[in-house]
């Protein structure tokens, strides 16, 4: 009976996504044989021009997440430290730099890039990380500099970033020796916009009680909106996933059995402990219904104009969650707490991700002042398990849940 129930809870679209991701990585690995070029790009970078140019985008950060989830992060981080990189450096960067050399990780290394596209809207580390890789592979690097917009998007920044979008296109034309196809760009833009809208709708389904999926599922299903944004594949997939979620809501299928408490997660996942954390919260009848991380890939959609895509992405890519002021980040967290009716906020103070973790104490204070919900801070790292202390985190989570339960009495 219980097996049947747990089988029923499984999201059917997961298999399809694995298949799509496998095909995507095979295409990327065999790009050279098919006369295709590969561009490595940061997770927050504008990928659509690459898709329009038929260049295969590859994401070292998505790869980093795979390394973390396959529990291969520690060895690769140690290897990077052997090479002289500090243990304080981001574990995605360490894992990627080491992986390029030892051809390790679950894929045996990423396909060699023909170019690197680095957008610093997510952090400053990517600049040096991509410079290291540009030297290692001896390939050209394009840097898209997106100044932090603490409060607004002034015309100076708008002009500055928009000019770089044009330079980006010239860069791609130079490397590929092909003309940029603006007509195709417009189509890709529409697909990217549509996929983001669908992804937002998928994430919104968890406002239902009980929630049809959890943030742990969102961490998994995120891969397509990151890697295949701008393709029909992503649009079709998210449409199916949305249908499945809507059906689960109709059928009353929840991800967490007997969901009683709803939590919001902040920061990147702890990739090597997804199962443990998921079970830990589930044992308390708590579902992580939403997170600030997976929503970052549709959070700036309000700035995107699908009919004037290239002009609007300058703003959309600049005003993403990690590139705005802490007050604005806190406002988004407060909106999510309300929308998802969260009973608590779990913040992952991520040793690797400084821009994500830096404002957390302020966000925690603002959330405490403006809502009545408990906030938990756990200290860990997204890929390097040496920064995860199980018994301490377990006690924190148990105590946090005791407080939430006490509030309900």
């Amino acid at each position: 009976m219980s097996d049947k129930l747990s089988e029923k809870r499984k999201i059917k679209s997961a298999k399809k996504m694995r298949d799509i991701m496998t095909t995507y990585y095979i295409d990327a690995m065999t790009a050279g044989q098919n006369n295709k070029q590969v561009a490595w790009i940061t997770s927050g970078g504008p990928v659509e021009p690459l898709v329009a140019m038929d260049i295969i985008p590859v994401y070292p950060e998505n790869h980093g997440a795979m390394i973390g989830a396959s529990k291969m992060g520690e060895d690769l981080c140690i290897k990077a430290e052997d090479l002289g990189y500090s243990s304080d450096l981001c574990s995605y960067a360490r894992a990627d730099i080491a992986c390029a050399i030892v051809k390790g990780g679950p894929l045996g290394g990423l396909p060699k890039p023909d170019m690197l596209i680095c957008c610093n809207n997510i952090c400053g580390t990517v600049l040096k990380w991509y410079e290291v890789q540009a030297r290692y592979y001896n390939v050209p690097l394009f840097i898209l500099d997106t100044p932090i917009c603490h409060t607004r998007y002034p015309p100076e920044i708008a002009t500055y970033v928009r000019t770089q979008i044009d330079e980006y296109i010239v860069f791609l034309e130079t490397i590929t020796k092909r003309k940029f196809d603006y007509h195709k760009m417009a189509q890709v833009g529409k697909l990217a916009y549509e996929a983001q809208l669908l992804w937002q709708k998928v994430l919104n389904t968890t406002a239902q009680k009980p929630s049809p999926m959890s943030a742990f599922d969102a961490f998994f299903f995120l891969a397509l909106i990151v890697t295949l944004r701008g393709t029909q594949t992503a649009v079709d997939f998210y449409r199916e996933l949305l249908e499945e979620m809507e059906q689960r809501i109709k059928d009353g299928i929840s991800m967490v059995p007997d969901e009683k408490y709803r939590l919001l997660w902040d920061n990147l996942p702890v990739w090597y402990r997804l199962k443990w954390l998921s079970e830990k919260f589930s044992d308390h009848n708590a579902c992580l219904v939403a997170d600030t991380y997976t929503s970052a890939w549709c959070g700036a959609i309000k700035y995107t104009d699908e009919n004037n895509f290239l002009d609007s992405i300058a703003e959309a890519y600049t005003r993403i969650y990690l590139n705005i002021g802490v007050d604005q980040m806190a406002d988004q967290v407060l909106d999510m707490i309300k929308f998802y009716d969260a009973d608590g906020l779990v913040m992952h103070s991520n040793r690797s991700c400084k821009p994500y973790s830096f404002g957390q104490m302020d966000i925690m204070r603002i959330v405490r002042e403006k809502t009545n919900i408990p906030v938990l801070m756990i200290e860990a790292d997204m890929v390097d398990p040496r920064n995860f202390s199980q018994s301490q985190i377990e006690t924190r989570i148990d105590a946090f849940m005791e407080i939430i339960k006490q509030k309900r009495l």
Binding site: T395, I403, Q406
Partner: protein
């Protein structure tokens, strides 16, 4: 009806019994290598001491890092909620708790009905814990329970700047080599640990009156250093070390 609380810490195991909302007795032993056995031993010793039979116990709550190893408990709860409940049971005026145990230190904020509003714990590091003091006592060849009195005789407390326990130990060793007065080194050690704990208290904006609990509350030098850092007096009960077990027993009565 009689209720029991068992607190298996990283260094000591504690047990407490309450009857009709009154504390009957407590007992403390070293946890040692086997936390399962420590739970049984401390419980049986307390039963013997208070002349209570096992069958007369209505419910048991376990707590502490070894809470899951007390197989005969009805429920396991965290030391945060147990220390909160224990402090409120002893003194319902208490709004803040600073608990410094062997493996971790924490600050807890209570509301007027004794519920935990917020808490902060030390990060993955032994600085500001009982273990930190134990390492230093070993380096100084002083019994752990004599650290407190020794530091009260300091005339010029020294400054330990390393946060890391291992580096702080080498700093202490250099001070010993430099023939610094032992009492002054110990006062410096207490201040270093107190500084770490005081950060936790300010993180949650702790409210007075504040009770100090956990084994380290028995160290007068550490209490003085903390009071100095916090700028207010701490309430230390005789049962400070057993406070978590007392809270667990109170929670057992509410199951």
């Amino acid at each position: 009806m009689i209720y029991a609380g068992i607190d298996i810490g990283s260094i000591t195991a504690k047990a407490a019994l309450i009857k009709d909302n009154q504390l009957m007795g407590t007992h403390v032993i070293l946890t040692g290598y086997d936390p399962i056995n420590a739970g049984i031993k401390v419980f049986e010793a307390l039963l013997k001491k208070t002349q209570v039979l096992k069958k007369d116990i209505t419910a048991i709550v376990s707590t502490g890092y070894g809470r899951a190893s007390v197989k005969f408990a009805d429920k396991a709860m965290t030391e945060i909620i147990c220390h909160g409940t224990g402090a409120y049971f002893i003194n319902p005026e208490i709004r803040g708790i600073i608990d410094v145990g062997g493996q971790d230190s924490k600050a807890i904020l209570l509301n007027a009905s004794g519920q935990v509003e917020n808490f902060a714990m030390n990060d993955k590091c032994a600085a500001g814990t009982g273990r930190f003091l134990e390492v230093m006592a070993n380096a100084l060849e002083v019994e752990l329970n004599q650290l407190g009195d020794a530091s009260l005789n300091a005339d010029k407390p020294l400054k330990i700047s390393s946060i890391c326990t291992v580096f702080a130990e080498s700093e202490v060793i250099s001070m010993i080599a430099g023939q610094e007065k032992r009492e002054n080194i110990i006062a410096g050690i207490h201040d270093s640990a107190a500084a770490r704990v005081a950060i936790l208290a300010s993180k949650i904006k702790i409210k007075e009156p504040v009770m100090m609990t956990g084994g380290v509350a028995k160290n007068k030098g550490m209490v003085a250093a903390l009071e100095n850092r916090l700028g207010f007096k701490l309430i230390v009960e005789r049962s400070a070390q057993e406070n978590g077990a007392i809270g667990a027993a109170v929670l057992a009565s509410k199951l």
